[in-house]
Amino acid sequence: MNDKAKKALVIGGGPAGLEAAIKIGQAGYNVVLVEKEAVLGGTLRQLYSSFPRWENPEELVDYKLQELEKLPSVKVMTETLVDSAQRKNDMFLVNVKHSDGSTEKIEVDSVVLATGFELFDATLYGEYGYGTYPNVLTSLEFEEKLREWDSGEDNTEPPKTVAFFKCVGSRDPSKGYPYCSKICCMYTAKQAGLVKDFFPDAKCYVFYMDYRAAGREYEEFVRDVIENKHVRYVRGRPAKVIPENGRLLIRAEDTLMGIPIEVTADMIVLAAAIVPSKGTIKLAEIFGANTDSYGFLQYDSKNPGKAGDKVFFAGACGFAVETLGAQYQGAAVAAEVIALFNQENLEAVETPEAQYQGADAATEVNARFRQANVGGK
């Protein structure tokens, strides 16, 4: 780590945070990457598979960690939380707290918030009985189940029928949030497809209002699940679940047929809404960033990655987004930070005397850069 170079703080080690930290580090600046869990990777660590290419998310995480290893200018602090911060002149004085109780003060020049998402509390939907009835799971809990089926860890009787409910907490101003959580239609198709791969004789139902596959290779992915893996999509938001004889009775209307139906399932997976992770609002306050009425970091159309003065954000803490999008956003805010640091360095190197003063690797790079540009004009 070069003590004289500019330093960025990246909070959150998921796909967005990792991307940001790596790119800023590769540009030659210092980064402190703070992550509350013991391992990096964020929600990717909980996923068994990914859309639209059925790839193993662990491979992506491992790849990114390898890139990270090559960067001595990036310091990683796991099991660490940001406690408070103050602005001091042009910098931030940030207090972090480690899991052993010890605290540390870091001085940084810019902050990137990449704190990711959590799932909506599905117990609020009493009609689905999450938390009360057995075998009603959220989508993230179901990823764990997929892993258990794959590894053979779960050798209980395979389910005969699995039902997936979409929009649990999304598109619901009454009990949840009015917005659409964007990624659930895709990951539900993925999960339903995987059930059919593991248990070809099992019946899979996906209860939907719409299916949203607006992305590259997305529509083909969902059509493959429906047409080749024979998952049945029923248009109708489930009205009620009633446990009966160890199974779960689902009442809904097949709105395309206009008939109320009852489906008996062994397991129900709820695609719960994407909400900003709990720490996001507190961090927004600490760093003077704005959040919208749902708690997501607020964006400005002209500067979408900017949350405040020298504060940027990327990934699901800004709104629900898929892994690829989180990576893109991470790289985009890395560019913002790098541009900011370059600009500040240029301003600092205004006078010719200051040009080569100080063994500042970044400033040197920038000075050469500036010279080259001046020459190029």
């Binding site: 009609e127 949840g176 708690g295």
Partner: protein, 320 residues
């Protein structure tokens, strides 16, 4: 932004235990099941809550309004009149003991609150008799008071209903209000908690949340095609799970569940023989209120079997 507040605790609903409440007379309650009204009065007396009523209170005019029997204007004015009267004369909160009254008064009051022109219209009309509605009185149901005073009820149980398999019929209209109510509309459990406090055994039968059919179903003559098949499904599942007694918090539901059973039996459903009483009457039984005050002779499906099981013959518990 957190999601809209729906379920609240009884302490949030009723800030402090009231010394006095205004009890809103229910038409069906006072005519079909006067024992219910009596039981509630006795139970609240034991729990230290005084009841105030007023003969100037009229019907809430909700039932037939929902049957499209007349237009909403009189119902809105009647609601404003009744609530305004409680505010002006007593300054107390308005407690109903009927889910129907609860829904009608609460929904009509909501229409008044959110439409200032209707509020003005109603207030102008009732002002000629000196009434004015200022949205000060809170609209509550006695079941909320029971739940708030659950610990006290437990203390005062003199006749634990041990071994009695009781099932709840919450009814539709209290939980359908959705916001600022005591429990979730699809998975409520607070009645069962009350049963446990009384020493009884709660039974969660499959169709416990099914409607009794008697809202507009009591008004229109679709009993055979709409209401009865529904009720038979409900009673089938209760019978299967060994329910011995059902409680309601609505005299309207009580009429449906209690008085339709012989009709169902005649039509070849069932046969069913599950007595249905008000939750207040159940609490009164456990709290030792004299039996003759509870008016079980109003019940079409007789309570005799239950009383025998509890070791009570007609006239026992405190022959006054």
């Amino acid at each position: 932004m957190s999601v809209a507040r729906r379920v609240i605790t009884p302490q949030e609903q009723i800030a402090e235990v009231p010394e006095k409440i205004f009890l809103f007379r229910s038409c069906t309650g006072s005519m079909e099941y006067p024992g219910t009204e009596n039981a509630i009065k006795e139970v609240l007396k034991i729990l230290g809550v005084e009841i105030v009523s007023d003969p100037d209170q009229s019907c809430c005019a909700g039932y037939i309004l929902t049957c499209s029997g007349f237009t909403p204007e009189p119902a809105l004015a009647v609601t404003a009149r009744n609530l305004g009267m409680v505010e002006q004369r007593y300054g107390l909160d308005t407690y109903v003991f009927c889910n129907g009254c609860y829904a009608y008064i609460r929904e009509l009051a909501h229409v008044l609150h959110t439409h200032p022109d209707y509020m003005k219209q109603a207030n102008d009309l009732i002002s000629q008799w000196g009434y004015k509605y200022e949205e000060k009185t809170k609209i509550l149901h006695v079941q909320e008071l029971y739940y708030l005073l659950l610990d006290k009820i437990k203390e005062k149980v003199v006749r634990p209903l041990t071994g009695l398999r009781v099932a709840a019929h919450y009814g539709c209209h209290y939980l359908a209000q959705q916001y600022n109510i005591l429990d979730e509309g699809d998975l409520p459990t607070f009645h069962e908690e009350i049963y446990e406090a009384l020493g009884a055994t709660p039974v969660f039968y499959k169709h416990r949340r099914m409607c009794c059919g008697y809202a507009v179903g009591r008004g229109f003559t679709h009993k055979e095609s709409v209401v009865q098949p529904q009720l038979s499904k409900k009673f089938d599942s209760a019978k299967e799970d060994g329910v011995e007694l059902m409680t309601t918090t609505c005299p309207g539901c009580n009429v449906a569940l209690d008085r339709e059973q012989p009709n169902l039996n005649k039509r070849g459903f069932g046969p069913y023989d599950i007595p249905v009483i008000d939750l207040g009457q159940l609490i009164a039984l456990a709290l030792g209120v004299p039996l003759w005050k509870l008016g079980f002779n109003a019940n079409t499906t007789p309570m005799d079997g239950i009383l025998t099981k509890l070791g009570l013959e007609k006239g026992e518990i405190g022959d006054e």
